[in-house]
Amino acid sequence: MENIQTGNDRERAARFTALYVRDHPRVSAFVYRRTGDRGSAEELTAEVFRIAWERVLGGEEVGTGWLFVTARNLLSNHHRAATRLTELHRRITDELDRAPASGEDSGVLETLERLPERHRDVLLLRYWDGLSTAETAAVVGCSGPTVWVRLHRAREAFREAFRDVHASPASLSPEESA
């Protein structure tokens, strides 16, 4: 995790620019996946980096993990109502003009929906957002080894829930039911 440290203004700007270029798309996508609205995601991401820049100017350190933690905090302030994952997925694929979820994809989304938040969180942070162990640890507030343990448990829970979803006729597409 790269940190920005105090230095002269030019160095600060250069370091912040490097962090921004590297992580802005990741943070923006992270927020977009959780708001389902591109405009809101852009606003919120801009806020994250505004706060980051203020910290840098104040001589504080800012790293990738901090960016995601801040994004998550802002999300919890601005989007208290939990939107279903399936609905978020539909909104985003509509907005991006991408194909809607197929039969199996719907089953996966439903499985994720059924998981306890602690399991769903770690799966999405790793497999959707592409966060490293250190970044995931910063976001969920635990150690690196604990992330591995949580990921292992989350995968086990997913496997079990996925079997249940597929065992339920109501969850299958018409083609699969046939």
Partner: protein, 223 residues
């Protein structure tokens, strides 16, 4: 039945904003960056005479914005692999072992071996490096000294959690067996220990030590 890597691929395939779509900055993001760092860059320049200060600042900020956008373009061209992205597979779908007994117990083969040159193979969208390794000592499993084993492992540097494996070096390998007599580390970060000055050296994020019995069998020193 969902296999070892299937959970990951299933979850990834329903990612509504795939990683590939997050490359580079949008025009809006680039402008916002210029808004943030521009004044700092402007202040860096020598102060203009008072009468022309406003005009100077406008020009300086405009220049800075252009420079930032250019910098963004250079970064985007020179650094295509963002953390957690890239063509490889940065996140292995694997367990973490909390104790020596768990780690060694999960391994079907524990050897000290010298790694040979490898090549990349892609199967089911998963790119790995495949290489042979010459066994130098065995602590668990039926591969005696001198035999060669085939290894598949996450390509070093393809993500944030990859073992630092290099051809020609010695390692302690804790392996699981794949189909076709091919082996893979039981965990990307815990399945590989470096060998330095007769000691087994764990990688980052691995605080599990090897047992005295395994170290002795591999002719390595205990801590």
């Amino acid at each position: 039945m969902i296999n070892r890597t299937h959970v990951k691929s299933l979850v990834q395939q329903v990612n509504p904003v795939p990683v590939a779509m997050t490359d580079g900055l949008s025009a809006r993001a680039a402008e916002e960056l210029a808004d943030l760092v521009g004044p700092v860059e402007a202040q860096r320049r020598a102060p203009a005479p008072r009468s022309s200060r406003r005009g100077f600042l406008v020009a300086a900020v405009a220049c800075t914005a252009a420079a930032v956008v250019a910098t963004v373009a250079v970064f985007a061209l020179n650094d295509p692999k963002e953390p957690g992205e890239g063509g490889g597979d940065p996140m292995a779908d694997e367990p973490y072992f909390g104790t020596t007994a768990e780690l060694e117990g999960a391994s079907v083969l524990i050897v000290r071996a010298r790694l040979g040159a490898g090549h990349e193979e892609t199967t089911d969208g998963l790119t790995e490096t495949v290489a042979t390794a010459q066994v130098l000592a065995t602590a668990k499993g039926a591969f005696p000294t001198g035999t060669r084993i085939e290894l598949a492992y996450t390509t070093p540097g393809s993500g944030p959690e990859t073992a630092d494996l290099a051809a020609g070096k010695e390692y302690v390998l804790l392996l699981d067996e794949l189909d076709g007599n091919r082996f893979t580390p039981v965990n990307t970060t815990q399945g590989v220990y470096g060998v330095e000055d007769g000691h087994a050296v764990a990688g980052d994020d691995n605080d599990v030590t090897l047992s005295a019995g395994v170290l002795k069998a591999l002719r390595l020193l205990t801590p």
